[in-house]
Subunit: 221 residues, 2 copies
């Protein structure tokens, strides 16, 4: 990849990156259903956004459709993949193989060529040695060694809240490059590590808030 292409990548808005992932997911399903082409307004409708937004994003990544047929699904999937996927497979570990850990492993399994969960870690002897969706679960003791051996670059944290800080520190120490934290305890990591946190309670409370507001509006009308 030359430095011009690199600059395109770095200049893409964060929100566009998120949508590219969503576009690809939607396109893959359309492709499976036998569709070959798709219009911007069709993509927009699936994802609850505007057609202009779709076209603008595709403009940013330099993709052109055809005037009467729209976008070639296969081509667009491939282009998005060259942009958001890494060149080599990116290996992922998940720490905490409880309910959430299992859900994630099962969900991600086989979905993406360039993204592979290759190891789970837990401290519960009942979990250690088990296999979920072909992914072996190792003792947390082996975390650092395995991360280096298997060239794991991303760590997902799904342990109980009280262990979050400790696990994050272990991942950082082991040389991880990115962390996805699903526990309700925010973590602090050095700047060179990309961190993403998500808590479903915030989503749920957001839904509850807007439901409440719309109800109060109704009442007052």
């Amino acid at each position: 990849m030359n430095s011009q292409e690199e600059n395109i990548l770095k200049s893409l808005p964060h929100k566009t990156i998120e949508r590219l992932s969503q576009y690809r997911r939607a396109l893959l399903f359309c492709f499976d259903e036998g569709k070959t082409h798709i219009f911007s307004h069709e993509i927009a409708r699936i994802l609850h956004i505007t057609p202009v937004q779709v076209r603008r994003d595709l403009m940013l990544i330099g993709y052109s459709g055809t005037l009467r047929k729209g976008y070639n699904i296969q081509e667009l999937i491939d282009l998005i993949s060259t942009i958001i996927d890494s060149h080599e497979v990116m290996n992922v570990a998940i720490v905490g193989m409880g309910d959430l850990g299992r859900a994630l492993v099962n969900y991600v399994k086989g979905k993406r060529h360039k993204l592979a969960i290759v190891a789970g870690f837990d401290n519960n002897p009942d979990k250690i040695g088990t296999v979920v969706a072909d992914i072996p679960c190792y003792s947390i003791e082996r975390l650092s060694k395995m991360i280096r051996e298997k060239n794991i670059q991303i760590g997902i944290i799904s342990v109980p809240r009280s262990y979050t800080t400790d696990i994050a520190a272990k991942l950082v120490e082991a040389g991880i490059k990115g962390i996805l934290n699903f526990t309700p305890k925010p973590v602090n990591v050095p700047d060179h590590i990309y961190l993403e946190e998500y808590d479903m309670l915030t989503s749920l409370e957001k839904v509850a808030f807007y439901v409440k507001v719309s109800q109060e509006k109704e009442k007052s009308e």
Copy 2:
């Protein structure tokens, strides 16, 4: 609630609503640790945002701290609660009691006074009749009836992808007011229903993308 207060609620930026949920979560933990007051820069540090952002959000909801002690944690928790929580308890149902469903039920249980998951639904006879974190799992057949009976206003979807559309339709038909969809299949709902969708693959792909970009930067240096 008078219409002036109502207008404040409606004018709050969406991002502020999300952060209010995060502030409260962080504040609750600080409170549990015995802290009584907190500065804007402390909140900011926990949540990886700027102190100005925190102060601005608190200004929007009309809360004032004191100059030398910062914000009273208890007071702030209470104020945020009056803003984002509903007056009466808001009841929630979760459809699909698999790994993800269980993780969510366990996580939400007892966390919020005004938000209660009161029912799970599934179509698997092995799941029907079971109880997870005190929440009974009912047959999907009874969805509509139970939603009305128990005054359930929010539905969480965590069934396999192929059933998403069907479940969403059932929830809408039963008169649900808000939907939180965790499946990778986006749903369409009428305008008066508040919809929130989240897919962890997008978060993971985002992490992978920024890890890739930072690696390419390193290489080219």
